[in-house]
């Protein structure tokens, strides 16, 4: 006999509101249905009522974790409409901010995953390290969440002492190497809760068009930083971790390895930070009629912005945002099929979902 178990929209196992209706037989999940929209704010519509400065502040609030990525993608799209190219120093600072944000997002996720595994000490360790990443972000931008770093044609704040930031990053890398990486890659607690759980096969990952660490954990080697480099990524040397198993362990490993790759990129960018301006100061610009489209590899995968403008207009005609969680969330249904009911909170968390991004 099958029965339905609803999880959400407000549930202790979910960080934000969404709903998973699961059809179970005994302890096994047979099928599931997802419901989103509980955080819907109509941000795309609001964007049509904001000018080119206000819209950046608005889109920074699409997500509380990867706020910088949203303004970076938006500015990249608007720069295509204004024919502005940020100076090299600004491109490097954009890379530094994006990688710090990836670090803080991945460590935050690791903490939440540890909590759902019942590994509370690891949760505390991750959140302690995450605080230190946020200290670095605050040292650069003055802010912990909404950094206000990006503008059309560059960035708002310079990194005046890259050596000091480099020392902070090296210290962080040391702590990750001592704690997060070995525990997540070798701990029996992590392995026993994650191995073989919530599998998304390679074929299904391709069919669903999933992105980011979830795709890479199912053996799909896609990363826009390599495939379609933006900012200064073409000048950075790094690897794209890929795992074939498609289970929660694979997602854990991909993110753990990406933390180390981010540290590698940060060290390169901070030591090679070119001199010069941080924005195209004093250069007048106008928006040309048309659509500017940009894609960026956010911590959770590909973000895409399409911005449409009419020459002479004060506000954009349309801003469309395709966030990574919007592409990845439908995969939860396939991950929980056949899983034990007790594993479903961890499985849904393993995609690092952002409902705020999804609902917009």
């Amino acid at each position: 006999m099958s029965y339905k178990i609803p999880m959400g929209p407000y549930h202790p196992a979910l960080e934000e509101p969404y709903k998973l209706d699961m059809i179970c037989e005994g302890e096994t999940v047979i099928d599931a249905k997802l419901h989103i929209g509980f955080n819907f704010r109509g941000i795309e519509h609001l964007a049509e009522t904001r000018n080119h400065i206000q819209v950046i502040a608005l889109m920074e609030r699409v997500c509380g974790i990867c706020s910088n990525i949203h303004t970076l993608t938006l500015c990249n799209a608007m720069e295509k409409l204004t024919n502005l190219t940020p100076p090299p120093r600004a491109q490097y600072i954009r890379v530094i901010m994006a990688e710090l944000e990836r670090l803080h997002s991945h460590v935050l996720w690791a903490g939440i995953a540890a909590k759902l595994m019942g590994f509370k000490t690891m949760f505390m360790t991750c959140f302690e390290i995450r605080e230190k990443v946020m200290d670095v972000l605050a040292a650069i931008s003055g802010n912990r969440v909404n950094y206000s770093m990006n503008r059309i044609g560059g960035v708002n704040r310079d990194i005046t002492d890259p050596q000091a930031i480099l020392k902070m990053v090296e210290k962080l890398e040391g702590e990750m190497l001592r704690t997060v990486i070995p525990i997540f890659t070798t701990s029996r607690t992590a392995a026993s809760r994650c191995a073989g759980v919530g599998v998304l096969t390679h074929e299904k990952a391709l069919s669903l068009g999933v992105v980011g660490p979830v795709a890479r954990a199912s053996g799909v080697p896609q990363d826009l930083r390599k495939a379609a480099p933006y900012a200064a990524y073409a000048e950075m040397e790094f690897d794209v971790p890929v795992q074939p198993a498609g289970d929660v362990t694979a997602r854990l490993l991909v993110r753990a390895l990406e933390i180390m790759e981010s540290c590698k990129i940060l060290k390169q960018a901070l030591s090679k930070l070119p001199p010069g301006e941080i924005a195209t100061e004093g250069e007048k610009f106008v928006f040309t009629t048309g659509t500017g489209t940009a894609r960026v590899e956010a911590p959770r995968g590909e973000v895409m912005y399409s911005v449409s403008w009419k020459e002479g207009s004060r506000n954009p005609a349309r801003v469309h945002v395709r966030t990574p969680t919007f592409a990845v969330m439908p995969a939860i249904r396939w991950m929980v099929k056949g899983a034990r009911l007790a594993d479903t909170p961890l499985i849904q968390a393993s995609i690092d979902p952002c409902y705020s991004c999804t609902d917009r």
Binding site: K33, H35, I36, G37, G209, R318, R322, A327
Partner: protein, 143 residues
């Protein structure tokens, strides 16, 4: 001939892709969106999204379909004079949520599929969010 260059021929188009702002655009005349989805599937391109625009003065809507082909962003615009276009959901399951979202935001129909609510809650109306000239029945009643 690169894979990208071979696509117009596969789609029966004599026009090449035009690269603008990092997007390779191809305007397809008589071809329908389902044929496009089949060709994209055969090339193992990754579906990204559909962006909908409402055109001014009741000219209809423009839907831009995007796929990724080995890091290259492809764009295919379709102009709708009416309110509907064929669904590609059965050919490309990655298009499920975005078709549902556009249906709810613009009140457009993707024919050949069934919908379940995505962002909307019980009692909400389609088209209110982004389609010009659509107001909720509550707002109309208030006026």
């Amino acid at each position: 001939m690169s894979v990208l260059e071979s696509i117009p021929e596969k789609l029966g188009s004599t026009e090449p892709f035009i690269e603008k702002g990092g997007v390779h655009w191809l305007t397809l005349g008589a071809l329908n969106v389902r044929q496009l989805a089949e060709v994209m599937n055969s090339l193992h391109a990754r579906f990204i999204t559909i962006t909908a625009y409402q055109l001014p003065k009741e000219e209809g809507f423009r839907l831009e379909y995007h796929w990724d082909l080995d890091g290259q962003l492809l764009g295919f615009p379709f102009v709708l004079t009416g309110n509907s276009i064929e669904s590609i959901f059965d050919l490309c399951e990655a298009a499920d949520w975005i078709e549902r979202e556009i249906h709810e935001e613009y009140s457009l129909e993707f024919t050949g599929r069934e919908y379940e609510p995505l962002l909307l809650r019980q009692g909400d109306e389609t088209g209110v969010n982004l389609r010009d000239g659509v107001a909720t029945s509550n707002a109309v009643a208030a006026k």
